[in-house]
Symmetry: C2
Subunit: 148 residues, 2 copies
DNA sequence: TATTGTTATACTCTATAACTATA
DNA sequence: TATAGTTATAGAGTATAACAATA
């Protein structure tokens, strides 16, 4: 007299569910760690991308991080106010802003990266090295497929 | 005369970043698909879990889905209003609500599951079958580690 | 680019009621 | 009983972030 059985896909075998739930937990770890530094995860992503690419336009930044072009404005406002980035109009196309890292931004990024390296090491320690590498590779494939 | 080079971990090699970003995209697909049915992703998760476990208490439900015990209330309110679940006080412990699926809830779950099966098939089609299986296994390990 | 508003979600804190254990 | 501590649910407020529409 238990409940009826159905052939529905169980939640725990849905990769989408596992992915979304795991990501929420991981993001929370990012938020907690970065909050002691005064950065939001998306702000760290912006600093990290600027460090990798050098000065670039807001639109390019947004595309690289998969951020909405409207939403990036507020994150940049915060970073500029803290003195971590500078925005300058592109003389070649004055609609555009050229965003660049300041020395202070470079310093805070180094601190944030060290902290996040630790978070990641702890977070993915449940996977042995070969699995972790394969997982990272598959994640990359998935991300590329989802954002292309 | 390029920008300076630093040894910071690049964003694109951070599994946390790839995980969180991919999950946001996948969740959006869930939201879009389920919105035509009138369900939120968390409401689908509730229905799916009830179908798997049979009637159970709110707290048990929340723990299984990794939902905040405060936040589950509103989702259940919506489901009850739509007639998909019933809440009854547990006579053995009147603080508790026993949540159970209605026939109508069972029907909508079947419809939602079919739709989500398609979403998942498309989403993870970028991984070949062996990789997809390994990825799912690793995701499971990660989820268990993060929620235990 | 920037602004505004909406949506989805999680998190924190607090309130209420009901249970448990104990003096 | 009476009291104190705990638990299950509920509600309000806030934070992060995506998305849509518009200026």
């Amino acid at each position: 007299m238990g409940h009826a059985e159905y052939s529905n896909t169980p939640l725990s075998s849905r990769m989408g569910f596992l992915l979304v739930r795991s990501a929420l937990r991981v993001r929370q770890r990012y938020v907690n760690e970065l909050s002691t530094i005064g950065l939001l995860p998306n702000q760290h992503a912006i600093l990290s991308t600027l460090n990798e690419l050098g000065p670039c336009h807001q639109k390019e930044l947004a595309a690289r991080i998969d951020l909405d072009t409207g939403d990036i404005v507020a994150y940049l406002d915060g970073l500029a106010e803290a003195g971590y980035i500078e925005r300058n109009r592109d003389p070649a196309d004055r609609r555009r802003q050229i965003v660049s890292l300041t020395p202070s931004g470079t310093r805070i990024l180094a601190i944030a990266d060290l902290a996040l390296d630790e978070v990641e090491a702890e977070t993915f320690a449940c996977l042995a090295l070969p699995e972790r590498k394969a997982f990272g590779h598959n994640l990359n494939t998935l991300y590329e497929s989802l954002t292309s």
